[in-house]
Amino acid sequence: MKLLSKLTLYNTLSKMAIVLLFIWLLPALVKDVAFQYTNYNLHEQEKKVLHTIDKNGIDYYFDGDSSYGSYTMLKEEYISLDANLAGMAHDTIETARRIIDKDTLQYRILTHVLRYKNKSYVLEIGKTLASIDQYNQPLQRVALYVLIALIALTLLIDLVFTRVLLRPLGLIIKTKLLNRKFPFRDEHPPVKTSTSDFKYLDNSLIDLMDKVKTAFEKERAFTSNASHELLTPLGILQNKMENLMGAEISEEAQEKIGGMMQTLNRLKKIVRSLLLIARIDNDQFVKKDRLLVKACVKDVLTELEDRIDASGIRVTQKINSSMILQGVNKDLLFQLIYNLVNNAIRYNKPNGSIDIREELETGKRYMLIIEDTGVGIDPKDLSHIFERFKKSGPAEGEGYGIGLSIVQSIAQYHAIDIRIASTPGSGTIISLVFPESLL
């Protein structure tokens, strides 16, 4: 799950939990607030009554009677003033039932005991629970709506903010990790961010890539120098042997020297191939040629004509488009196709066939496919075939396992993707996927 999704989910869930808690607590809260308010109101009314009694005397209410009572039209509120016959000692405020003019109703009642001219009186002020609760429902609803709106708003802000906050991470991954081709020669400036964690990550990645790059450069320089330094002594040896071969020597000696030359040749080929790979990896080849694929394939087949005939392999070539590749090195591409077709011949079966065809996705990419009916590649070897000095197939002492390494270097150099599908015993399909940039 993406970090952004996780954070959003967490925010949503935590806020939902708060909402649920609030919904659960809301009735009780509202009720409590209403009660508190009612109590306060009752006290205020009590104060008013006491003030009136203070000012006008208790007879202002009694008006000659021994008690006083009054209620509103719907009996929502009432007030009564009586002599304290029950002998109540102190003030209370409680919820209780009262019968007012034949109706029994639940009231919140404030009871106050007051002394006036040595006589004790009880003042009761009541308010029906129904009238207290009447605002609860709408209040709760409004509170709920406001809450939901606020939460939705904060969620939205969270989402946008998280997105902005995480953007550098995506950028770091995109520029520093994805779409980067070994050996990371392309430079990318540090991603701009004020989050120190991301800066740390970014800098660590830049450091790491630099280290990889340096190590690779070193290896490449070594390969290049070593190969180059080996070429001269190899040349001297070869020339000495050639001269020896031409001298008057026995056939036996000739055979021995022939064997030595073969070994020397093997060494020479390896050194040359390593040097070629090092040079490709070193960007020493100019990629400015235009190449007609059809012509290149034809040249390769002409070059290999003799051995195709000799091996009795049927080659079908179905390149009909006049696809031209731009910005390539044609010698390298020739070598790339040559090596692949050569392998297809070499690892084929008697009376086998090779099919060379193309696939074009308009404006997207171009594929050159070389399919053979050869011995195929074991699935467990597939991942190693591009490694130097790895040979697959029957070990007949042929080849030095470097041809495909060259293929890979050339392909990487041109950003060509190589796809291999192989069934041991029935053949191999190699697809060269040329990127849009070369078309």
Binding site: S224, H228, L231, T232, L234, G235, I236, L237, Q238, N239, K240, E242, N243, M245, G246, E251, Q254, E255, G258, M261, Q262, N265, R266, K268, K269, R272, S273, L275, R279, Q284, F285, E303, E305, D306, R307, A310, Q335, Y338, N339, N342, R346, G397, E398, G399, Y400, I402, G403
Partner: protein, 224 residues
Amino acid sequence: MKVLIVEDERSMALEMEAFLKRAFYLCDLAYSAKAARDMMDNHPYNFILLDLGLPDQDGLLVLKEAKVKCPDASYIILTARGDLDDRIKGLDLGADDYLAKPFSLLELQSRMQAIARRKSGLNDNVVALGDFFVDLTRRIVLFEKTEVDLSRKEFDLLSYMLLHKNRPLTRLQLSEHIWGNFSDDDYDSNYIDVHVKNIRKKLSVFAEVDWLQTIRGTGYKIKC
């Protein structure tokens, strides 16, 4: 034919000299750019074989100068330097060919011969071979005016063996000439046998080909 070998690796220069002498070339050796310059001042040369990695001066500069001093000579650049531009620069400066070290002396001679043939402008490059005639310019083999149908590679092979006649040639040397840098391994040299078999088959229709000898375990030789 007079050849100046400009090469600072003495043992390599000596091998080249030994080989070319046997092919009846007259050789002078120069181990430095300075020595080469002195020799060019004093002698005319048909061929100047020039190593680019000289100790005292860049070979390309020597070439530039030499083209003025000996404009008639043919130049072949020999180098182990990695720079691919060298080839283009060298050819731009007027070199006739370019060989990357390590090279085969047989190949060197073959290139020299090709240059000489090209420069002489003679169309008459027909060599007798047994009962056949090999026309190196038109690249055909004739038997009493009848053209023998050889493939391109078969002709290359035959003419190479002919150039180095009476010398045993290994399959490798032959395959290296035929496929050059594309010959990637021993596997290629197996095809040499196929080619030689075809050459024998195609020629023996007309006459004996006993001059094309197989050297057991090594390769082939044209004896004549």
